[in-house]
């Protein structure tokens, strides 16, 4: 069991007041909060270890390099990669996806097809649109059902021999729905297609094993995993990463430079050009360690409890409509109240200290599917409580009254 009141002490921001009232932070799907265990590691880095890494002979540089590479090992172990060099540090999910989309430019041609879904985050749509524009290949879209889930039958029929790649999120950020990625990957592999999973929302809520999943590429961001901003990782199978050209040119990613010929370095350096976000990477490792110290099994079951409690009580409110109200979900609830615009609800909730996200959540196609301007999205984390949910529902009722 998880002691939420003890855990909350690790998060200084949870004691904050906004608009003269206690902050209730239900915008965790946008960014998670950061515990002292991570904040202190970052401060400590700058106070004791800050140095440029990899090429330095001096002790401070060795020290920083060890800490940086130790994070790679932590992340490799946590996500079940086979090798350290399969973990590439990025500035976030978006960056990770763009490394692949840019790398595929030479490997994808006019007659190839790519598959995304209607529920993707813009970060997992726009890079593929750009790739299709450059290569002449075609983007096919798996539609969603009216309950928000992927239409798997449509997926199967879209999986034709010309499909080279499938790009799907692990968990939908606007609906919270968990996709059957194991099945998606197996079907794709039977079809000789490769799969990239956008794990921005998945990585934070349950433990996964990437080599068992047999996924080809997986990307995530630290800032959704109790880690710092500006860092994330791209996982790729060695053989695939080796077959891609480098993304950015610069220091670190080369082994030999002359004006006649430049040789690229081995993995992972090939994709880590320039001075990386050293403190960010070290903080990311600390965040994974922190979450493991709580235990992902505890996090998963407690968040499920919060989700069920909130869903049950929200449904008692008249005229509420929840989008994506299915069983396989993380603790995210997207809804609208009557005909009220989500921004009206969000603004009033904010006055009551409740931080929710409103709008399209970077998933305009879903909103177009449901023909709505957006939703109110409340997303809970393992440091939230049932009494916060009570206050949120109270505030929601008051907002409803005000708006009439």
């Amino acid at each position: 069991m998880l002691d939420v009141y003890k855990i909350r002490e690790d998060f200084p921001i949870l004691g904050k007041k906004v608009n003269n009232t206690d902050l209730i932070y239900f915008d965790n799907a946008a960014t998670s909060q950061t515990p002292n265990q991570v904040i202190d590691v970052i401060s400590d880095y700058y106070k004791q270890h800050n140095s440029n890494i990899h090429r330095g002979l001096h002790s401070l540089s060795a020290d920083a390099t060890n800490k940086y590479e130790r994070s790679r090992t932590i992340i490799k172990n946590h996500f079940g990669a086979l090798h350290e060099h399969e973990i590439i540090f990025t500035s976030g999910t978006t960056h990770g996806i763009n490394i692949i989309s840019s790398g595929l430019e030479k490997l994808i041609s006019e007659n190839d097809e790519l598959i995304v879904s209607e529920m993707e985050h813009h970060s997992n749509i726009v890079p593929w649109q750009m790739l299709c524009e450059k290569t002449g290949s075609k983007l096919k879209v798996i539609p969603i059902n009216d309950n928000g889930t992927l239409n798997m039958n449509e997926y199967k029929s879209l999986l034709t021999p010309s499909v080279k790649f499938v790009f799907i999120n692990h968990v939908s950020n606007s609906l919270g729905i968990i996709n059957p990625i194991k099945e998606i990957i197996n079907l794709a592999h039977t079809n000789n297609s490769k799969v990239l999973i956008d794990g921005a929302q998945g990585a934070a809520h349950f433990k996964i094993n990437l080599s068992e999943l047999d996924v080809d590429y997986y990307v995530a961001s630290a800032h959704k995993l109790c880690g710092p901003t500006g860092v994330g990782f791209l996982y790729g199978k060695s053989v695939l990463l080796n077959s891609l050209p480098p993304y950015q040119g610069g220091g670190e990613m080369i082994s030999n430079v002359t004006f006649n010929k430049t040789e690229y370095a081995d993995l992972p350096h090939k994709f880590e050009a320039g001075t990386p976000n050293i403190s960010g990477v070290i903080g990311f490792g600390a965040a994974i360690e922190y979450m493991n110290s709580i235990g992902f099994n505890h996090i998963e079951s407690y968040e499920k409890e919060l989700l069920d409690y909130a869903t049950e009580n929200l449904k008692k409110i008249k005229n509420i409509k929840i989008y994506g109200d299915v069983d396989d979900k993380i603790s995210v609830i997207s809804f609208n109240l009557g005909n009220h615009h989500p921004s009206d609800i969000g603004s009033i909730l904010d006055q009551y200290g409740v931080a929710v996200r409103t709008g399209q959540h970077c998933t305009q196609p879903i909103m177009d599917h449901f023909n709505i301007p957006g939703t109110v999205r409340a997303s809970f984390s393992f440091y939230n409580t049932k009494s916060e949910i009570d206050l949120f529902i109270d505030a929601l009722k008051k907002a409803s009254n005000m708006l009439g």
């Binding site: 009220h340 615009h341 921004s343 301007p373 005000m402 708006l403 009439g404």
Partner: protein, 140 residues
């Protein structure tokens, strides 16, 4: 006709009666509900204002050296704010609109109750209003 500054002062006076944010919000919501109907023919993309989370349409007309505005939004609080802006700006000469120093928003304490996103939307609205006025002045 009152000057733009006089109208702003009046609004500031009115808001002094409110005890807390919820009364201000309630007032904006009521203003939004009572905003005159928007001509459906003007609900077109070229009248949309960029930079708001809700949709905001702004239309203007120019007659007898006077600019008139009408506007609409799919969010009620935005409509309430628009209603105040129309009250302030509509019915004035282009040069008055261009020269106007808009200070009522801060003074009625709306700033601190509007998120950055909303505040940006508000700035976009005021900018668009001034752009219309500039265009009409140039036409003269």
């Amino acid at each position: 006709m009152q000057s733009i500054q006089q109208i702003q002062d009046q609004i500031i006076d009115e808001f002094e009666f409110f005890q807390d944010w919820s009364e201000k919000y309630q007032y904006l919501i009521d203003l939004g509900k009572n905003l005159p109907n928007f001509n459906d023919n003007n609900r077109i993309d070229s009248n949309l204002i960029k930079g708001c989370q809700s949709k905001v349409w702004l239309n203007s007309s120019f007659d007898d050296n006077i600019v008139k505005f009408e506007a609409d939004s799919d969010a009620i609080i935005s409509k309430g704010i628009i209603s105040l802006l129309i009250r302030v700006f509509s019915g004035h000469k282009p040069e008055e609109i261009i020269a106007a120093d808009i200070n009522f928003i801060e003074k009625i304490g709306l700033n601190s109750h509007l998120s950055q996103t909303r505040a940006n939307g508000l700035l976009s609205m005021i900018k668009q209003i001034k752009i219309y006025a500039l265009a009409y002045q140039a036409k003269k």
